[in-house]
Symmetry: C2
């Protein structure tokens, strides 16, 4: 079975797929009389075309059994989808340009302080958690009929570093 | 100095001010081939009137010295503002109907798994963290000129339970 080893998630490596939501590399501004620092504009939320509402959700993901077998990829033709971890625990991100082209896959290890925002139409795997059950806040489009799935002929294996 | 003791945050108690973003009381659906549960539609994101973009930010708030003195309140006339804690640590929420009417104030203790979404024009205090520095993800409106502040003639004191 072909396998893929995740690389550390960086804005540069992920740029073709969407945004990394993190304070690293951002320019914080001081607010609240010095009691808070704010990093603005960290993701391009592209969900409201045609007047759709923003959907705020909470997910709880269960850990995948190891080794993690990748059997399907999905994308959302009508909007971006943002995942922010709600605890400081690493998780995995898997994207590709073409789900039928194994060479187009890229896997990333995200820290517990990195969220991702998949751009509209970017192929990605559903949430990948490999240690303990983990909570995420999700920002996407309030809509139905916004999912395409492709089941792979040959599963991929993710090698956890 | 008049004082206020926070009460536990519940959807019912907060309904006049906005949304409590939490899984309690929500109806989860099973997704991702059984590897995740999703609670949808947890907040009314009201930020895009006039075509404004959604702003995704990360805040880091410093703990307030105790006792916490409340000296100003603020509101955003052009949009809602959502705060979700990124670690499982309690925080405080203070809102009012009229910043000049001490009887209209309500304080809440939020758990580390409860976010809040202040509705447009709801008076609230900036982030209140009382223990350690804490991180939040914020969803509001990408705009300037969206802040009103009122400095109180007589500060209020928050009594931490």
């Amino acid at each position: 079975m072909p396998s893929l080893t995740p690389q550390p998630l960086t804005k540069a490596a992920f740029a073709a797929f969407g945004d990394v939501v993190e304070t690293d590399g951002a320019a914080p501004i001081e607010i609240n009389q010095g009691f808070a620092r704010r990093c603005n504009g960290l993701a391009n939320i592209d969900v409201t075309s045609g007047g759709a509402a923003v959907n705020i959700s909470l997910f709880e993901a269960k850990p995948r059994p190891l080794p993690i077998e990748i059997k399907l990829m999905e994308r959302h033709p009508l909007g971006s989808q943002l995942f922010m971890p709600l605890q400081d625990r690493p998780w995995l991100v898997l994207v590709c340009h073409d789900p039928r082209d194994a060479a187009s896959y890229q896997a990333f290890t995200a820290t517990g302080r990195q969220g991702v925002n998949y751009a509209r139409n970017v192929w990605h795997h559903p949430l990948l958690v490999f240690d303990e059950a983990s909570r995420f806040m999700v920002v996407d489009r309030m809509t139905s009929d916004n999912l395409e799935e492709v089941w792979l002929e040959r599963p991929l294996v993710l090698s956890i570093p």
